[in-house]
Amino acid sequence: MDNAKYDTRDVKQCCGNKLGIEFRGGKEYNGWYCLDGKKAARITIPKGRKPVPPGTYKSMASQLKLAVGEFDNLLSCLMTRSAYEAKLRDRTNRVD
């Protein structure tokens, strides 16, 4: 788990730049990832935590329907947006 490498701003930046998630401000940041025009995953990112606490990191991964290792890959640029979308599509279809 690479939580120690990142603070919450890094996570927000990655989710914004890579996944195109638009965050709404407030005491925490909230944003939706849209798949085929429908909101499919919602992530909450607390403000100003350096590094990201492990439980929070796991929860953010789970909100994006990713395992912790996959979330590490997403943040470290190993996972592209299309790779993420393929995983999300698979996991959303399984639930739906």
Binding site: R24, E28, K39, T44
Partner: protein
């Protein structure tokens, strides 16, 4: 009112209340065991005395459970700007130098420096999600189910 049987009628040989109260609670990966014992002079049976005998052990058991479990379970009964018709369940556990409160019914969490801050953050997130879901219907089926669930238990104002 139906009379409560006395010990003489039931054949019990106990003249004092002395019942070990042991319970194992398993839920959400949290396990604890508590043994509580209550003793005292048997009161005249009535609704009030029965409640007085039963309620404290339950309270004590809950306190023991909360203290013993690392991921203490708590209930959210209030939100800041909306009303909850049924409580939501949350677990709170330490997370680095703070605490994380996770909702059991929906994949939401709140982080804070203290347990109460984490719970407050979780409450805000519940309301924020509710507002998001009520805005339109452009969600996957999974989120539409969450919407139906929250619509049933949250009332505006």
């Amino acid at each position: 009112m139906r009379p409560v049987p006395r010990s003489a009628e039931t054949g019990s040989t106990r003249s004092r209340i002395s019942f070990p109260f042991e319970s194992d609670i398993v839920g959400f990966g949290v396990y604890t065991s508590a043994r509580l014992q209550v003793s005292g002079t048997r009161p005249e049976p009535s609704f009030q005395t029965q409640e007085a005998v039963i309620v404290p052990p339950v309270r004590n058991l809950w306190a023991a459970f909360e203290a013993a479990s690392p991921g203490a379970i708590t209930f959210i009964t209030k939100l800041a700007t909306k009303r909850l018709l049924r409580p939501l369940t949350a677990s709170i556990e330490p997370d680095a130098d703070g605490y994380i409160a996770k909702l059991q019914e929906v994949n939401l969490y709140g982080f804070g420096d203290s347990r109460s801050e984490a719970l407050d953050a979780l409450r805000r997130d519940v309301e924020s999600l509710y507002d998001d879901l009520m805005a339109d219907n452009e969600f996957t089926n999974e989120w539409l189910s969450v919407k139906a669930f929250l619509k049933d238990i949250i009332v505006d104002g």
